[in-house]
Symmetry: C2
Subunit: 335 residues, 2 copies
């Protein structure tokens, strides 16, 4: 078993820097695109045969140091009583976004075995055949709340912020429910076989540092504190207050490309994951290599998991992913 | 004449902190909405009578310490040969975005008197009747380039980055042309009567720090170095590399709300503008006041221009703007 990812989470010496890629089982892979012509996102992740196959897909193609279970952060909202759909070509949408305190109080708090049983089953199926660590994941309470309230992507997150400013008690009840749901999801994923888990707070960067500390950090901290496996705490747009993110917890802090990795490491004082700009994978090799080298030069030899700063883009050439993975291994090899 | 804005630009003592609001003549004002039902954005800014009236509108309603000429950063692209239109409800769009090096080489470099004569005329008309400083403005070369290449707003700026990575020589020619156009625009605005100018690099935060330094900073520096009036250098999403932004120049660095203002001041070592989250203007006064207080506590008494961290939202209650402006004056009063 290749356990480099877990060693990097602990800041231990590694023979080479482990690498995996956010959305590594995604639309840039022809086999994934072919499957997704036939099945919607929800169908695919709710079918453990399919989800297991998709989880394994990138590992057959690239020399990756981790698998991540094929799933999504949003389906737990369905189990809580919201009407999430994935609109092809648009993304996730809620017909009736969460806009009232009554709506918040009606939300159910389903256990993971009810909310996401297929993801747990997918983990049980792939775990025995993997030779690399398996990452489980879920959305952070804030990011799930903002999806639920906005009903989809947002430029301003104005409804989310308006709720937190106007109805702090309702905000607390909502985030507390989400924290309970997500904590159980991640604990059950670990029980099912996940070796480590990633908490995605993808939209935390919509907030300024003072609001992050007041309205987000307490719930992320409550969540992370109860997780029984190494935690990668990922967010984007939080580069100027990573210390506050780190303060919420996580063995590893995942950062986007808008912050220099050496600055990030200084701010969080622990292992980091990142942080290549996904768009560099569309560039000629000369430029892609220069950007990988920049990340590696700013990283330390231990306590670094190489990854992109956000999900891989659908238009990424497969060949560039192969070169990236192999180059990171070669360039960081201590042998 | 109230010259507090100009004194704050120089870091001098002021009787109270000057305040203005990005998009202060905007959709949150009923009179502006009424006018815009009748005239498109381009019609309004190309009619000096209308543009002057709109410039003055917020000053009649609030006790603001600066006017900003009613105009837009994108129309210069029309003079350069691109087919920009403002699609109602969608925003600016280019039918044929800039995607080839041939397209870049065909771009004209019109002088300001050809590209934006109406904005210069608007400045000449409002200047004599203003009792506060008048701010001129233009888009930074990078932000204009990214609009021209993407053809509209973008989540990833992948075409912009792909061009800079793949065709660095063409990128240099494009940014050099844009720098020339914008420099002349701003110089002519100052000649026409603008007391200071703001350079909007609104999308610079799409880049990581190393790319910013290589592909953006040289052009912004070339631009700012030749401007004959105080410069406010504004960007968003650059909170983790504000030192690099400041290094490109500007008497004042304008920042968004994702960075604590005291951290920003330390990073840029000069006066700062900002940085209230625009969404807080939708909150109850108690919360709005708490957020204003937080900004003021992190600011120093000199070298601070109070503003939002980005443009005011159309759904903002007018009354909250009045309270904000008056409160900043009272709370910072040295009398």
């Amino acid at each position: 078993m290749n356990d480099l990812l877990l060693r990097a989470c602990r800041g231990e010496a590694v023979p080479h820097t482990p690498v995996w890629i956010m959305r590594q089982a995604g639309r840039y892979l022809p086999a994934y695109r072919a499957l997704r012509k036939r099945y919607t996102m929800l169908e695919a992740l709710r079918d453990p045969d399919l989800a297991a196959a998709i989880t394994l897909l990138p590992l057959e193609t690239f020399d990756l140091d981790a698998a991540i279970v094929f799933s999504d952060i949003l389906p737990p909202l369905i189990g809580m009583g919201l009407d999430l759909t994935f609109v092809p070509g648009v993304g996730p949408r809620l017909e009736e976004p969460l806009r009232t305190t009554k709506g918040i109080d009606r939300l159910r708090v389903p256990p993971a075995v009810e909310a996401m049983p297929e993801t747990l089953e997918t983990i049980r199926r792939v775990k025995p055949i993997l030779r690399v660590p398996l990452i489980g994941f879920a959305g952070a309470p804030f990011t799930l709340a903002s999806y639920a309230i906005e009903g989809g992507a947002s430029r301003t997150y104005s409804r989310t912020k308006a709720l937190m400013y106007s109805e702090p008690a309702a905000w607390d009840r909502l985030l507390t429910k989400l924290t309970t749901v997500v904590a159980d999801l991640l604990k059950e994923q670990v029980k099912a076989g996940a070796d480590c888990v990633q908490v995605f707070d993808s939209w935390a960067g919509a907030l300024g540092p003072a609001d992050y500390v007041r309205f987000v950090q307490p719930y992320s901290r409550m969540l992370i504190a109860q997780l029984p496996a190494p935690v990668i705490h990922f967010s984007t747009g939080t580069g100027s207050y990573l210390n506050a993110v780190a303060c919420a917890g996580g063995d590893v802090i995942g950062v986007d490309w808008r912050v220099a990795l050496d600055d990030a490491r200084k701010a969080v004082k622990r292992p980091v994951m990142g942080n290549l700009d996904p768009v560099t994978l569309l560039a000629p090799w000369r430029e892609l290599k220069a950007h990988i080298d920049d990340v590696l030069q700013r990283a330390e030899a231990t306590g670094h998991i190489f990854n992109l700063g956000h999900g891989i883009l659908p238009e990424t050439p497969v060949e560039n992913v192969r070169r990236l993975v192999d180059y990171v291994h070669t360039a960081t090899s201590q042998a």
